[in-house]
């Protein structure tokens, strides 16, 4: 009897205990996640809590910490980063809880002298910089981390990736590559111009000639059916189009893009640029074609300088000729 009672008790407990076990496992999972976050926070605080890493600058809700050897570059990098961020993203941030981008240089090669060497660190954090917020850790070269321009470019590129990760899935699928924010405008536009003008497909040639409908097709913004349409442009042209939209839309462009996240990509771009899609495509096309080399690449000043050198060399020849 007692064994029957015991069996009944075990059955009751096992049946009634299912939700309790489920609750416990959730608690376990939460505590493991919390523990993981705490360990990451501890590791980061140990890394950045190094005596050689100090706070360099704090502006507009962002703080830069850097190793002593690159403090000046860090300060300037924050200034450049904020300027570029305002240009592309306005006041938008990747997360309410802040963010952190940690750039580390641990040495190009290993020698005995490098052993035990503290890595150089440049860290950008957006307040409130909570442990749950998004963060990036990236190994960079000494040249990148020690120069304000290149450091701000890398920070902006990583920031762009964080921002893109929070955008709509449609936009991410359409774009495929990260935004080319680490490049200067000329570095970005010239390869795009060459890919744009040398495209061999039927629609690509029509887009170059000025057909905006074909431009929308070859950029993956609309569907078309036809035998002579050809393929679409390489994906990196799309990033340039999105940046053109952000530039056209001004400081609030990214916020508008984010608000239109549930709509198709065309509508998102239209919202960001605050322009109809045809106007945006026309603007993008014009921004590329304006970079084409001209027949008048030689200025009058350059011609005068060349003439000056020719006369100088001739005068030099008179001075050094054999009768002298």
């Amino acid at each position: 009897m007692s064994s029957l009672r015991a069996l009944a008790t075990v059955l009751l407990v096992s049946l009634a205990g299912k939700p309790v076990l489920a609750q416990d496992s959730l608690k376990w999972r939460d505590s493991v996640v919390r523990l993981g976050l705490a360990v990451r926070a501890l590791a980061e605080s140990l890394r950045t809590g190094d005596s050689t890493v100090v706070e360099v600058s704090r502006r507009h809700g962002m703080v830069v910490r850097a190793s002593r050897s690159i403090q000046a570059a860090g300060d300037l990098a924050l200034e450049r980063f904020l300027e570029a961020k305002r240009h592309w993203f306005g006041t938008a941030l990747p997360s309410e809880g802040g963010f952190r981008i940690l750039l580390r240089f641990s040495g190009e090669y290993s020698t005995r002298r490098d052993e035990g060497r503290v890595p150089e660190v440049l860290e950008l954090a957006g307040m409130p910089d909570s442990v749950e917020a998004t963060r990036v850790l990236r190994g960079v070269s000494r040249r990148q981390i020690g120069n304000a321009d290149s450091a701000s470019s890398v920070l902006l590129f990583e920031f762009g990736k964080l921002m893109l990760a929070k955008s709509s899935v449609e936009l991410q699928k359409w774009l495929r590559d990260p935004l080319p924010l680490s490049l200067s405008e000329r570095e970005r536009k010239l390869p795009v111009l060459y890919a744009f003008v040398t495209g061999a497909g039927g629609s690509q040639r029509k887009c170059v000639a000025g057909s905006l409908m074909d431009c929308a097709y070859v950029l993956g913004l609309r569907q078309m059916v036809g035998a002579d349409l050809g393929g679409s442009y390489p994906e990196f042209l799309r990033g340039d189009l999105l940046l053109t939209a952000l530039e056209a839309g001004g400081e609030g462009a990214w916020e508008r893009l984010r608000l239109a996240a549930t709509k198709p990509v065309t509508d998102q771009l239209t919202a960001a640029a605050a322009l109809p899609i045809d106007s945006l495509l026309a603007q993008w096309r014009a921004s590329l074609l304006v970079l084409r080399p001209t027949d008048h690449s030689l200025t009058a000043q350059q011609a005068i300088v060349t003439a000056f050198w020719a006369i100088t060399l001739m005068a030099g020849a008179i001075g050094v000729s054999r009768w002298a």
């Binding site: 111009l193 060459y194 890919a195 003008v197 040398t198 495209g199 061999a200 040639r205 170059v208 000639a209 084409r292 080399p293 027949d295 008048h296 690449s297 030689l298 350059q302 011609a303 300088v305 060349t306 003439a307 050198w309 020719a310 100088t312 060399l313 001739m314 030099g316 020849a317 008179i318 050094v320 000729s321 054999r322 009768w323 002298a324």
Partner: protein, 215 residues
């Protein structure tokens, strides 16, 4: 007097001028025709053409050295006796030689221009792709002008002056090596080349793209 010097110089080196003029005419035609497979591979074609573009400054260098050397060849052979017999001041004689050299350069530039025009007009390019026959000829002419100036000065120089120049260059090399040993980040030769090939440096026309056909 200039006419007489040009005539003498033409007689001495007409075969060089004709050969270089033919090379100048052939270069754009061959470069444009060789890689052309229609509009289907424009990107590859343009990158090929960019490599062909390196031959333009190369040709300018060959023309400059060949003509500058030929200009002073007769004087060097005759130990400058003919020049000394002329009732002319030295500067005027050098100037005449220089102008005569420039006059012989003109047919080479004209033939290159003709070659670029023939090359670009006989090609059926898709819309959006543009041709620059005049711009590339002008760039070639300016490059040639500067390179000829250098080559002419070197060819007219006495052995003593060339010796000074050589010693000066040797001294610069020694300083460069010394600086490199003391401060590895400082490269004097790279800095010097940078100054020479960027505006307003004398060799600036050599830089940039030498594209006869471009976007």
């Amino acid at each position: 007097m200039l006419k007489a010097v040009i005539r003498i110089q033409w007689k001495a080196c007409w075969h060089i001028v004709v050969a270089l003029a033919l090379a100048g005419m052939a270069l754009p035609i061959v470069s444009v025709r060789l890689g052309w497979r229609g509009a289907a591979n424009l990107a590859f074609y343009l990158s090929q053409l960019q490599l062909w573009g390196l031959f333009y400054p190369g040709l300018a260098l060959i023309v400059a050295i060949a003509l500058a050397t030929a200009t002073w060849a007769s004087d060097r052979r005759g130990h400058h006796i003919y020049a000394l017999l002329l009732p002319l001041p030295r500067w005027r004689y050098v100037l005449l030689r220089y102008l005569a050299g420039l006059a012989l350069i003109v047919p080479i530039i004209l033939s290159l221009w003709l070659g670029t025009v023939i090359a670009t007009t006989t090609l059926n390019l898709p819309p959006g792709i543009r041709v620059f026959p005049h711009a590339i000829t002008l760039k070639f002419a300016l490059t040639l002008l500067v390179l000829f100036g250098f080559a002419f000065a070197a060819a007219s120089a006495s052995s003593r002056m060339l010796g000074y120049a050589l010693r000066g260059f040797g001294l610069f090399l020694a300083i460069h090596i010394g600086v490199l040993l003391l401060r590895p980040g400082t490269n004097l030769i790279a800095s010097l080349v940078g100054i020479l090939i960027t505006w307003p440096g004398p060799l600036a026309p050599l830089g940039g793209r030498w594209m006869l056909i471009d976007v």
